[in-house]
Symmetry: D2
Subunit: 371 residues, 4 copies
């Protein structure tokens, strides 16, 4: 099966997606082959990007792209505010849609996208590529098989420090129209991980905090602008299966570059993980012999699919960009009719609805049901 | 100055305290010398313990001990329920009092103890020996000196797994009269650390959870008894200085043996610590040169007081029992009139009041002021 | 500039090289563009591989490939025994040559290749892709700038465990005609790293050991065949600059998957590295303030070139295959006339000569000069 | 049984020994009780030290001490050059002798001490307290039980950095009459560990290096004195059981404070250890399920004897001084007639003979048998 790709946006994420589609066929033996057809971006950027990324055609009008007959997949990497309009147009043209997270700043809009896609029967995917790590797949397999017993608690954090400096100027991340701050941007990844490994979140108790009250409104500017989104977001959660947990996000955790860490405690074992070393998973089993128990540091190896498609030997390590390639792979497999566990639009909506409930809970100062 | 010691209780903590008083004079050059005078315990245990621990006298009546003229220090390591009565008697006899934590199951009782001690002008100490770690003293020095700027957040956890097995039988830890479960037992240490490093906690939002609903009421018993205390306790906190944080405690975190970990984010740096490796402190400074920044792993060394009193060279490591010796040292220094930062009865009360507020907040499902 | 690529071999390394040439233009903004022209492999494998890897032509005769006018680069990933003959033919046809390590089983043959290439003035590269890690480039920059003072010692090891099982059957790695065992296969990487960071090795004292005397001569076979190559190789070394060190290699280090670790001690600091976490480098500086000294864990970040071409943010991590892309990048930059520090044929020869001297030293039981 | 202790020397090691004898009875339930009888040191230091360390008598003449009737144990912590004379006198007086390492600068002298002790039938001990770590005992138990199969290799290093600064003045450690430099001082610990875990060393190939050629002959002095002992010592070794290994020692490994690390590879598993975190042992077992294999980080716990005598719960950690207490415990148990695996004079001699052979091998540039 050959499929035509239309890519909208050619910034950092646009490039990463393009590479994902190129690398996927180098890396995997897939029945689906993808042809780069057309790239859309604003004004003159489209032509240069199309040439650099190997798209034979380009346009500055995404509407032209989504309706082309030779485009089967629409890949959206534009600013968040445009996701919904483009996705709905693509879905109504019968295209499969791959969209960066978040689907839309508001969960209600995301839900509209989900409903349209499900009604149209197209395949969708949303960019939560941390989930595509073979070590997370291993964690899920360990949990699902009952190796650590019944899951009792989840403790996760995503912390970075790119907003630590109070004099770092305004960026699009601070725009409240984007749907939130550190919790929306980083915490959503922890919500996605928690859902992937433990299951749906039923209730939340949130606490979001703006620490740096104002920032320069532009580089070198002496005028400061009020910050309306949070620098730190936290929530206690109760999962539908009864487990409870804690989710934290911060973009001012000085010194942390990529701390997407979690611990899971089960009745018969535990799991610990850090994205800073994402080719490793720590596993503790109470069934190990007394005096010999301890967290095992398991390195990613060919037995942990699909690591072996990237490296023939253990411990060699896949990189961040390879996670995107795996995400594209799962999306294409789903289009080819295979059963996958990848994050589709509905999952994207569920994550967002959970995040949104945390904001409302923080405002209310009370537990709220995710519904 | 020579001081007479009366020790009440000779279980695990009683022994640890006795050793602390013996080791303190071996380790430190102190103006105060302590003579072991009398040991009190229940029934026939007193005699054997007095002999083993080097106390010339013994009694089964703690009242006799607290009123002896040759006793200057009363050291209480009995079950928690007895702390208050004994301490009040000792204080009223004009003795300095050293009491294991918690001062009492209820903060109101603890407060009564504080008031009595302050009115009597005796020196007090409560057993939070994790705080006596030279690496925590270093962390405080780093914070106080402004090296990491203004503290913005604190993320702490104390997790162990000694209650993981749902068939582990009932213990005194599960007695609701003890004041609580994992939060009171372990979380209180995180509260103490947070207060020591960041300052008083003004408000809390709690969430406590009983995960294992019932347990065998005795070893080998088939009758199960309902558990009324929490296995997991969590709280979001706001410090008086404006920083916010998260505090977690669990005794069912499978695989964790002594996870008393915290991260502190400041405007110019960060600190990370794990009790599993308590002779190390990680420090990040934004003032380091670009491309060379990273958390520095600092090993305890003679320049970190009072490590050098135990080991003449860096990296050799002090042990858990040495922390108790340092605690005794600080208590004796305070008796000798020196200024110390050790946890006295007031600090013990403040910790407990914070813990108690977390319980009430969890019940209310709302933020509560600590007051 | 457009260059035509002829690839010989399409096994694991052949594929990795092909991907490197594809990814290099996605990742870097290069003046040189590479067109895949022709692929050579044995018999019918060539056609399938050419199709899978995007080469428009294929052949089962590598001689045809090396003499094609539209081929500018010959890339050799055949079994080691063929490297020399192919490389000499390619060089004599005026092609730039990229060859997997080792250049040839014997250093004398490697030298012949070097001399031919240097006489012809073509650009060469040999596959030591661990060296292309931005963290190793950082280590070299730190050393060259004098930040850790004068280098005094180097301690390196490359240990894996893929030959641990004494009943694992015979493989090509055990063929003595290949030039050696664990030392040639893995230790050569440590030699390369040592040379890259510290400089040429003047003298060696070797010790190589065959631990598993015989192995099944084929899968499931009960006939055992004598092993003639070493499972463990070690050497003490003296560098030309006076520093000394230790180099170790093992393929039976049970539990190790990719332990390519080293420590470097300088007069003003130290460096430590592990390939198991190759996006990190530990740096110690004696110039740090007393009481605040410790190894800093530096995560790969955009300021460490060329990490930023793969990930726009620190801590995201590049993978093993990305190292090959960087290697191809440097090779192409060299063809374009830029100054690079990549491993060319001469460097490949120097590594091999050092390895060979270790074998001879081990046999002699005495120090030998590398010459 | 009550035994009288005579301690000779009251410097750092003297104090540590005294504390060990005091703590041993607090910590362990021993049939042997030790009374501090007399302390000997030079001139006026004896009186002050006796008072501080709780010895009722003191002397400036060690000969008086070794012949006293009420002294059963002579404990020698003097400068190395005096060890032999004192030990021989104590042995001839029928005393049990505990001596700091090394027994004597020359192995021949150490052997004389061994023979005297064995002829007299007294119990001896030499101070290799790293060996008394419960985690090393665990490692030995794992090896002896065959859990990791046949041991194939040992890779150990002891590196610190207290001599890194080329302008650090002369100390007694640099005196060639002391028997050597970093290898004798630190490397001897690795030899002891290797022997404890793997067995006797049959052959060695040494390489010792003086890196800093001269140092100030006194603090603040501008006169420099030639250094005649090594800063770095290394050896390849062959054990009697056929395993091979590498042993390294350095006191100029900048940044390392207490790196006494080793890895052991067996046919069915591996062990790794670092003294920097000496309450942990890493264990890898090939018998673990595929996809779940990894080094397990085992924390010291009550099931690892005699950790439980110090801490009732796992992960609390013993300290460096506790290792000395365990050493004293084993010595006293041996005196009481129990079977122990502690390092006696013969073991002290064997370590020293091995170290001495490494020096001779380094000079010869050739393998030498330890004999």
């Amino acid at each position: 099966m050959r499929l035509g790709l239309g890519l909208i946006g050619s910034g950092f994420m646009g490039k990463t997606h393009a590479f994902g589609f190129i690398d996927v066929n180098q890396t995997f033996d897939l029945p689906v082959k993808v042809d780069r057809v057309i790239l859309a971006d604003v004004g003159s950027r489209a032509e240069a990007a199309a040439s650099a990324l190997g798209f034979p055609a380009f346009t500055s009008d995404w509407r032209e792209l989504v309706t082309r007959k030779d485009v089967d997949i629409v890949d959206i990497t534009t600013p968040n505010a445009l996701h919904k309009e483009i996705a709905l147009a693509a879905i109504s043209a019968g295209k499969h849609v791959y969209c960066e997270k978040p689907l839309a700043p508001l969960a209600a809009d995301a839900l509209e996208m989900v409903r349209a896609a499900e009604a149209a029967g197209v395949v969708t995917a949303v960019g939560f590529n941390y989930l595509k790590n073979p070590m997370l797949k291993l964690a899920r397999e360990i949990i699902d098989s009952g190796e650590i017993g019944e899951v009792r608690s989840f403790n996760g954090i995503h912390a970075e420090d790119y907003m630590t400096d109070a004099d770092a100027p305004w960026t699009w991340r601070l725009d409240p129209a984007g749907g939130g701050g550190a919790l929306a941007d980083l915490g959503s990844h922890v919500v996605a991980t928690a859902r992937y490994l433990v299951g749906p979140i039923a209730e939340v108790l949130g606490d979001v905090r703006t620490v740096i009250a104002d920032r320069p409104d532009a580089p070198e500017s002496k005028t400061r602008r009020k910050v309306e989104v949070e620098d730190i977001g936290r929530a206690f959660v109760r999962f539908e299966n009864g487990a409870t947990g804690c989710i934290q996000a911060s973009w001012i955790e000085t010194g942390r570059k990529m701390q997407h860490d979690f611990s899971i405690a089960g009745s018969k074992g535990g799991i610990a993980f850090s994205q800073e070393r994402f080719n490793e998973l720590d596993l503790y089993l109470t069934s190990d012999q007394s005096g010999r128990r301890g967290f095992r540091k398991i390195f990613a190896a060919p037995e942990h699919e699909p690591y072996g498609d990237f490296c023939v030997a253990p411990g060699h390590q896949i990189g961040f960009n390879d996670l995107k390639t795996i995400e594209v792979h799962d999306f294409l497999r789903a289009i080819a009719g295979e059963k996958t566990d990848h994050a589709d639009f509905r999952e994207g909506f569920e994550v967002q609805r959970t995040v949104e409930t945390i904001y409302r809970s923080s405002e209310a100062g009370a537990w709220l049901k995710v519904a």
